[in-house]
Symmetry: C2
Subunit: 185 residues, 2 copies
Amino acid sequence: MEQFILDTSLFVNPACRKQFGKTPETAVTGFIKKAKTKKSKAEFYMPPLVFKELSHFAEKGASKLSTIVRKRAPNLYGIYIPAPILYSFIEDVRHRINKGLRVAEEFAQDNQPDNKIKLNKLRAKYREAMRKGMVDSREDLEIILLAYELGAIIVTSDEGMIEMANKIGVQWIEAERFGALLNAL
Amino acid sequence: MEQFILDTSLFVNPACRKQFGKTPETAVTGFIKKAKTKKSKAEFYMPPLVFKELSHFAEKGASKLSTIVRKRAPNLYGIYIPAPILYSFIEDVRHRINKGLRVAEEFAQDNQPDNKIKLNKLRAKYREAMRKGMVDSREDLEIILLAYELGAIIVTSDEGMIEMANKIGVQWIEAERFGALLNAL
């Protein structure tokens, strides 16, 4: 029996969800249909926080999904992780804080009055510097820790999650390839 | 035998070092003198990275210090930490990233041409939002992990280190009070 931990990107990211449906809601319905045919071969999990996150994009879907996807948080207080995980995370955050300041300085020095465009650009650049490729939410970390605890496989297209999964010896499959993998089970 | 892990703040922060000397260099000399009288009752440690950090403030001192303070890094690859430490750290970083963006937006919208003053203000506010009260360097984390590994006592005035020490059950003493504690040994 294979165990899979699903990230919301499977249903939210257009490139990922298209294997199951056009919108988040239809992608969830399409996934449920497919998943039911694999019930004897695969178990699916999502931490409750991730269910909640998904419900912002597909409210009906998130509630239907719990017939086939198990709600399970990691046993946070029972899990110990190797110290180098935190060590390299702090090092990464430190570099990002410096990059974020460079972005802030650039926009503080640009005294042009087109504030709306400027603010949007600032937000995009800051987000890129601070968050892209980093585990930046409890949701992401819960998926990694649940997979670590269960010895399960993460289904995601998130670079930051994949990087941490690789550091801690957790299996993952690109969300884009998950439909094909289910077919092959 | 008590074991103490020293943070650079003991010699660098004026409020902390004044119990041993007026400048970082004389504070180191003053500490060495005092520490030698307590050799049978206390062991002192600093991770090599922290020695290096101190040498930027007190080059001669850092080199003299190794006669009484042991150079010892934590056994990083042998230490496991409870997952909630990383969980709450990621949550804290997420809030700080948002606060940092608010600071950046504020300065991007302020179209006054006084750029030098503006940049200094931006840096101070950004630093306050992003780093104050957080473990934000490998040096800080090495001190915490070494104390965790040895069951030793951290000597520091850093809020972020104290907060993490409290989460992981590590003893600490305010650097300001360390001279008095040595006297009482």
